[in-house]
């Protein structure tokens, strides 16, 4: 009867939650912590930046992340070359004591679109160094396949430009990517609201990664909960097998036995 869902497994690690959230742009660390709790996420992204040497003793981000239940996924956000991204990953390893990274090599400041050539180059180096690489990529099935071929643990196609909230711009490609690769497919970037997350999951992807959609909402904690529910609803709908779309109406009530 009902299909028993299997949990998400990335590189041998099992996750009960299919939502991955960020740690940037929240109104405060406290709101971020409450969002993390409300989202049910088990993995959060973080960025690597120069330490502010003037701000001694400031409560660090890390004290607001419950590492007993959250795996850290350091990113290489705003790196524009493979070399810079690889450097950032090595620093992240020293900081986080883990070799999991969200590889992000961008091509231009206006779109923040991935430079897939540099991303592939960095992925090759990082996989060789033993990193578990989760690359942010374009919604192109061929690039996704190449990233899988070089040993990435997942592929993370964008739904729309980072922070745009435009939703799933090319559902067809996202579905093609899901059909093309065997590793988990995580929609990363572009989600604006709960229905976007649900649509991504209905396409059959394994998880969704988001930051701004939660952190930038008027009530971030409430949106975090909405996203949790949307991810679950979308997954359930995907597993349920939706009805085919038809051009004309089909009555839900019996056509016979009408009173005359």
């Amino acid at each position: 009867m009902s299909v028993q869902d299997k949990p998400l497994v990335i590189s041998g690690v099992t996750f009960q939650s299919r939502l991955i959230v960020g740690t940037g742009k929240y109104p405060s660390h406290e709101v971020m912590k409450r969002c993390h709790e409300a989202s049910g996420a088990e993995m959060v992204t973080v960025a690597v930046r120069r330490l502010d040497l003037a701000a001694k003793g400031e409560a660090s981000l890390m004290s607001w992340i419950d590492r007993s239940r959250m795996r850290l996924l350091p990113n290489t956000a705003l790196c524009y070359t493979a070399d810079d991204a690889v450097r950032t990953c090595r620093l992240a390893e020293e900081l986080g004591m883990s070799k999991w990274v969200k590889l992000e090599v961008l091509g231009d400041e206006k779109t923040l679109y991935p430079d897939v050539e540099e991303t592939l180059k960095a992925a090759r180096v990082l996989v060789k160094e033993g990193f578990t690489v989760l690359p942010y990529t374009s919604d192109d099935p061929i690039t996704a396949r190449k990233l899988e071929d070089v040993g990435c643990a997942a592929v993370m196609p964008l739904a729309a430009p980072i922070g745009s909230g435009l939703g799933i711009r090319n559902p067809h490609n996202i579905r093609l990517i899901r059909e093309t690769v065997k590793v988990p497919v995580i929609v990363d970037a572009g989600v604006g609201t709960a229905s976007d997350a649900a649509i991504a999951m209905e396409l059959g992807v394994d998880a969704v990664l988001m930051n701004t959609a939660i952190a930038g909402a008027k009530d971030p904690v409430r949106m975090a909960r909405a996203m949790k529910l949307a991810i679950e609803a979308g997954r359930e709908a995907f597993l349920s097998g939706r009805i085919p779309r038809k051009a004309y109406a089909s009555a839900s009530s019996p056509l016979e036995g009408l009173v005359e």
Binding site: G24, M32, A47
Partner: protein
């Protein structure tokens, strides 16, 4: 001698170790990672690692991001 810390020039004693530099800046511990001339220097090596003139030191930490 002059070294560069996070892009800023700074005068430090000749032959200062990375550990001594971090102590003088009141930073360190598991929350920071250090690169010298674009190569990570692991925490365990900080006490023995001697800096040279014009070394480019990057001291980084985790911050919020997506």
């Amino acid at each position: 001698m002059t070294i560069w810390i996070n892009g800023q020039a700074r005068e430090v004693p000749e032959g200062i170790t990375l550990a001594a530099l971090l102590a003088s800046l009141e930073v360190g511990g598991p929350g920071v990672a250090v690169e010298v001339n674009a190569e990570v220097v692991r925490r365990a090596r900080h006490p023995e690692y001697q800096l040279s003139p014009e070394d480019r030191v990057e001291i980084v930490t985790f911050v919020g991001g997506g």
